[in-house]
Symmetry: C2
Subunit: 338 residues, 2 copies
């Protein structure tokens, strides 16, 4: 009867069997340096023998902090959320941290209180907030109030480095539109994202930047606003393709809307990319699987999430992590020379 009763072995079992005190076992577990090598080996042998694993709840209680980090998001798109989860996991896999997810509803009036209650109840170590709700300063304020550390992701540098991992959407869109210009396009339509979204604003700025540097005058007639859905992209496409002269290329602020534009083009008997070039943004699963495959811009989402997680759990190491990421243009088959 080595272990006292049914359950898993505890630090007391290890202490008793190796003839040392609990505290010494604790030192072994925590790799304390002031510890005799022989003692360490003796204790480690018992630990291995028993298959002892420290109880994280007891640890959390004694340390007054736990090892749970939360992911708060309002499902922007499944691909992205999952990419983020993978990225976070890659950062915490070898640590004792675990990832707790919490989808919220941006439009719910109680969202703020929901998050607050969640954080209070679970006493998380820290949270990571995804766009688009990351654009909401409220949540950061709630975290500060509750003493929960936080890092948010977004499409522009909103906070100090230790709280922010950003993609440079403005520059990325400028690059993408410049690419269209480089292919000979001069009349380039733009489908914006919904008002109130930081990403939408940044992307619009990038479009403006690119036109400006190519000395092209922006024409409001070939600019439309969507709300990041396929349907809104479809409507925007119809509007833009009805103008004369017709744009030879359209940049849509996300892939869903780009797919909508493509659909509208097809309905009007236009071929893509022969009659119309299209570029999207996000590189979601759709982009690769529609016909023709969509040229688009991709956030390095996993790397960003990884960096964000590192900022959260290991600020020292985080100094070597970048805070601003530039997206890549993924060339597929939806763009032709004009």
């Amino acid at each position: 009867m080595k272990i006292k009763r049914d359950g898993k072995p505890t630090i007391n079992d290890v202490a008793r069997l190796s003839g040392v005190s609990k505290k010494t076992v604790s030192r072994v577990i925590n790799r304390s340096p002031l510890l005799n090598e022989a003692t360490r080996e003796k204790v480690e042998a018992v630990i291995a023998d028993l298959g002892y694993v420290p109880n994280p709840q007891a640890r959390a209680l004694a340390l007054r902090r736990n090892f749970l980090i939360g992911l708060i998001h309002d499902n922007p798109n499944a691909q992205m959320v999952l990419g983020v989860q993978e990225g976070i996991l890659s950062a915490i896999r070898e640590t004792e941290f675990a990832l707790v997810v919490r989808p919220v509803n941006r439009r719910s009036p109680t969202m703020r209180e929901d998050v607050r209650a969640f954080l209070e109840q679970q006493r998380l170590y820290g949270v990571l907030i995804l766009p688009p709700i990351s654009e909401n300063d409220d949540l950061a304020a709630v975290c500060d109030e509750l003493g929960v550390s936080w890092v948010r992701m977004g499409s522009a540098q909103l906070d100090a480095e230790e709280h922010m991992v950003a993609s440079n959407d403005r520059e990325a869109v400028a690059k993408a539109v410049a690419y269209l210009v480089g292919r000979g396009h001069r009349r380039i339509g733009f489908v914006a994202g919904p008002e109130g979204f930081r990403s939408a604003a940044e992307r619009a700025l990038g479009y403006g930047d690119a036109l400006a540097s190519a000395a092209i005058t922006a024409d409001p007639a070939i600019m439309a606003e969507g709300n990041y859905t396929f349907e809104s992209g479809h409507a925007a496409g119809e509007k833009l393709l009805a103008t004369t002269p017709r744009p030879s290329a359209i940049f849509a602020s996300n892939d869903e809307m780009a797919a909508g534009v493509l659909h509208a083009a097809r309905e009007q008997g236009l071929s893509v990319p022969e009659d119309l070039s299209i570029v999207g943004f996000d590189d979601t699963a759709i982009a690769a699987h529609i016909w023709p495959p969509l040229t688009t811009v991709r956030w390095p989402i996993q790397a960003m999430a990884r960096a964000a997680a590192i900022k959260l759990i290991d600020p020292a190491k985080a100094r070597h992590e970048p805070s601003l990421f530039l997206s890549d243009l993924i060339e597929r088959a939806s763009v032709n020379d004009v």
Copy 2:
């Protein structure tokens, strides 16, 4: 100086301020019935006043169980994983449980050990396992060994009810193929999923069932195997469309492959659905956003995940939850009468 120091109020603070013992406060929190109404109100007033929230780690330690449930998956597709997360959340939102996610890599040789270490370290209350790794009995065995309760999701009833939430893929596919038959198709191709996947096997059986009840002889020439990717669907499509007579309809075992078939058809100058009808399975985001929008079969994924979570955390209530779910046929525009 109501609360002793900086931190959050504890049960001791509440006890002191309301002039009762810790245990009485504990009874209030846990809604114990043997408790004087006046006392309860007095204590509740102090709790509200202080904004006291019980510490889950201390609770977990004392109760020797925690309130974390894990989701183990090998990203089958983002849409589905996120749907499951939403479903689980809908079941635990009002409880004290939280959801911890753990993506794993099916092909990793250490997968089993990874999961084991994860479960041992975090001491989860229970886990939910998603296909396709849910088809792996190993994981269930590890859970049993560790005393972690588990529920798996899958495409056929593999376990006893308390451990399983299943979709009836066989019947769902049979229904979908019967629908094609009803539309006049007699030469119906089939793109199977990869060998070794239970879902693939079930779906193939459903195809066979439907042909049998329509008295159509299965023709191996118009059956191909893919591995659930767009590319494999494309290859399968090429193969099937090269046969004579050409099939008038093709059922693909998932949407990605259906999209691949669609692509192959387009390359051969065939119009869908005029020259070829296509039906997919899963109703992923792709299905709605390709052209033409794909008729497909949808798992009631959120409802299934919700039921699974309830089975995990509240077996009593779970008796009112179904264990077997039938999928719906989502009619869009990829099928024509023959």
